[in-house]
């Protein structure tokens, strides 16, 4: 069994991002499942609880990623799963989404936040750090 290998759930509506991040993570030996719809991912979570969730921010709606991460953190079964938000949207009407403090990060129900494009090393380091916690 490979159950020792951590399971990482990727959610993005851009299939190239799924493909890209999958390659980066799989190269490090992680198991990866990909979803383009956060709701499908949420339904899947009960049967296959991931160790880390990496989600895009703007999918169907501007804040799909926030809604999704709130649902995870609000569910007692999943609230301990670290969530990483990745986005190409640095601004919504000119306001920077990038969290500056831990509080702002908490407000997003996220454990980490990255701007696209992803620097592979930074993502991998963050995943490792979150898994160790």
């Amino acid at each position: 069994m490979t159950s020792e290998k951590p399971l990482i759930m990727l959610i993005d509506d851009d299939r190239d991002f799924l493909d890209l991040n999958r390659r980066i993570l799989e190269a490090k030996g992680y198991r990866v499942v990909c979803f383009s719809d956060p709701n499908v991912a949420l339904a899947e979570m009960a049967s296959r609880k991931p160790d880390v969730v990496i989600t895009d921010l703007m999918m169907k709606d501007l804040d799909s990623g926030f809604v999704f991460s709130k649902k995870i953190k609000g569910d007692p079964r999943f609230k301990d799963i670290p969530v990483i938000i990745i986005t190409a949207a640095s601004s919504k009407r000119g306001f920077d989404f990038t969290p500056r403090t831990q509080d702002e990060l908490d407000a997003m129900s996220a454990d980490a936040y990255f701007d696209k494009p992803i620097v592979p090393e930074a993502l991998l380091a963050k995943v490792e750090e979150l898994l160790e916690k």
Partner: protein
Amino acid sequence: MSREHYHVEDEPHRILVVDDEYGMREGCRAVLAAEGYEVETAEDGVVGLKIFSEKGKFSAVLVDLNMPRMSGMELIEKMHELDKDVCLLVITGYATIETAVEATKRGAYGYIPKPFTPDELLLPVRSGLEKRSLTLEAKRLREERENRLLEVAFERSKSNTIINCMTDGVLVINRDKQIVLRNAASARIIPKCSQFHLPTPMEDALDAPELSALVAETLEVKSESLIISKEVTLGNCTYMVNASPVMELNGDTVGAVAVLRDITALKKLDTAKSMFVSMVAHEIRGPLAVIEGYLNVILSGVAGQNPDRDRGMLERSLARAKTLRKMVSELMNLTAMETGHFTIKRAPLEIARVVAEAVEWCREKADEKGIALALDCAEYTLKEKILADRDAMMCVFTNIIDNAIKYTPPNGNVKVAVEYNGIYAKISIKDDGIGMTHEEQERVFDEFFRAKNEFTENVPGTGLGLSLVKRLVDMHQGKISLDSTPGIGSEFTVSLPSMEDTLLII
């Protein structure tokens, strides 16, 4: 007021001499004419009065008291009645000086006792005429002032009318923070304000702390050229309030004027524009990040070395770069359309042939996917012409057909039909693809809208094609409609006006 009633300075004074003695009449005429006066004479009061009332304006009249038919006294009274300003001088013998004094009480300016030297005649005439000029000038000034007052009153009511007709709200507030003037628009903007009789304290009547604070700030201002501008939200509307102080000549602020302009629609437009810009930024950053990400992975070797896999990633990067380039040119077209720099060149166009060409242009793509692409157009439609821009029409139909192919699974059908009924040409593009939900149909012509589901995630597209199509159809005074059912398929219908109708519209 016309000045014709009065003596015009460069014309000589006219003087009437009324005396029954011929010698006296002619003596006076000689003396006065030598001084440049225009002289008329009359031998008695009846003739004198006739000349006075019929032969135009006289500046002065010399009247002998003792005359037959009508006494000098009576004549003076009658003339004074006709013209209050005329200078009446009595010519009298010493015996009747008392009577002459009486005459001055009844309107005569003075008397000249007989006999007199030329100077003794001229002196009272000159001073009488001078007095008359002064009286007339004073009268003119008085009338002028009265007219000006009338004008001011008229101006005031005119200003009130103008202020009330303004679509911007106008409020005038005095130093004691009381509203002293409001126009109809301001009463509409702040309904509460119209319930109070003016003047009324602004805090009570405005019920808008932000606005009151702005006015209070303006009242503190010490320079007339300073205008304080602020956006103020009242109810559901946003107003740009421009407030400026009203100052007296000595520099004291006596009040403030606030003009309220409704900028709600502008704010909405501004918001939409900002949203669009951030959408564009997001739509461009996405593909760029993908390209950068793939290249990063290949170059850094994070995912290991595998030429085949690397090639796959490079191909994806290329595909995304192409989409990006297409998106940028479509954006440029959309912007050109919005700023009015995009012009269509209408010419008679056999529309069915253009549609057929668009169909052929898309044929290869349909064949690749195994989609049956059919064109149904009756022979008669081929010769029908509409007034349209050829490139724009090609863009419209290749975009719609290309779209139909994209969103139809392999082995599906795309059917294009052309009809013409003399009023408009109707082109329909029908597919048996994935279809759209009601919500998706409503947004399909919006910029950057792309239906997102399991099927569409692998369909490349910019999300700008259909909004471009809609704009082009609009520019041709045409109509585009959509009928779609999820899982069954979609049908786009484009209607374009006939050549005759287009000529009528444009």
